[in-house]
Symmetry: C2
Subunit: 166 residues, 2 copies
Amino acid sequence: MTEATPERRRRQLPTAEELRIWRDFIETTGALNSQLTSRLQVESSLSPGDYAVLLALSEAPDQQMRSSELASHIGWERSRLSHHLGRMERRGLIRRQECPTVPRGAEVLLTPSGAEAFRRATVPHLRAIRELFVDALTPDQLRAAGEIAAALRAHLDQRGRGLTER
Amino acid sequence: MTEATPERRRRQLPTAEELRIWRDFIETTGALNSQLTSRLQVESSLSPGDYAVLLALSEAPDQQMRSSELASHIGWERSRLSHHLGRMERRGLIRRQECPTVPRGAEVLLTPSGAEAFRRATVPHLRAIRELFVDALTPDQLRAAGEIAAALRAHLDQRGRGLTER
DNA sequence: ACGTGGTGATTGACACGTCAATTCCGGGGG
DNA sequence: CCCCCGGAATTGACGTGTCAATCACCACGT
């Protein structure tokens, strides 16, 4: 594997074809994402972030959750969540209140209006996922997409440790 | 095609398995993206946007380009480019000057420092793409990824017309 | 010559993310 | 008692993106 010399230098960098696939892949997933985002926005006036928060709260017992629990549940940094909750609170989608048990702990809870917004958003959003993603692929491709995601994820989780920790 | 009733309702929404694949896929590509972004940032103090702009300018004759040409070349809205160029100009990576031929046209040009920053960034960035993307997949998976991207893109370009135009 | 409409580019307002402080508070040592 | 530590959450500063004005200037039509 530690091949001599002439190969070695070239192996470090992607070939033109690999690079083409990379660009296609990353640009297309980006475009897909922004299409979905904009449909969610138009149809429900929610951002993907709003949706993630509302989904988590909707599924929580009592429709409420500790802020840090929510953060780790949806995989966000606490600071990001804090900013986002601030914006959502201004729009009346959620409320925050002191947590009686934990010092300095904040309980996040769904308002009726937030629950309603989520309820109205969910079917159109799932439909959009079907239309823009699922319907675009053959069953084989869909399966392959799942495997590719798994492979990338595994590779990331392994390599990531060194730089980003987690 | 306009099937009776019981099928119809279900076909609209993704199944649990489809949804799982979707989430894996979109979250993983997002994570991949942010890993790459953070490596580029750490290694070269450039954002992906910076890199795209510098790449385009580097390849342009005379290392300069009309602003709107640049925008369409990298597929950005003009407003987005304008904001970004402002930030890049503050950091000395590019300069803007009046275009002699076209009224109100702006010429964007690479500064020596911008060219140098790009030169230093490119190899590490390509290496990161190989490490995080290409190396994670088998040759078959890589090919499949290309086909999936193509299929999604084609589907998007077709469906997109109705809502977003382009 | 004077509106009127384009086209090219910038601007402002605002949402979103990240990173680095900062605040609040509840324990231990000394 | 006081100080300092550490966890929970917020805040501020700033880069980034989008959308909707706005600006500058040309062409043109009557």
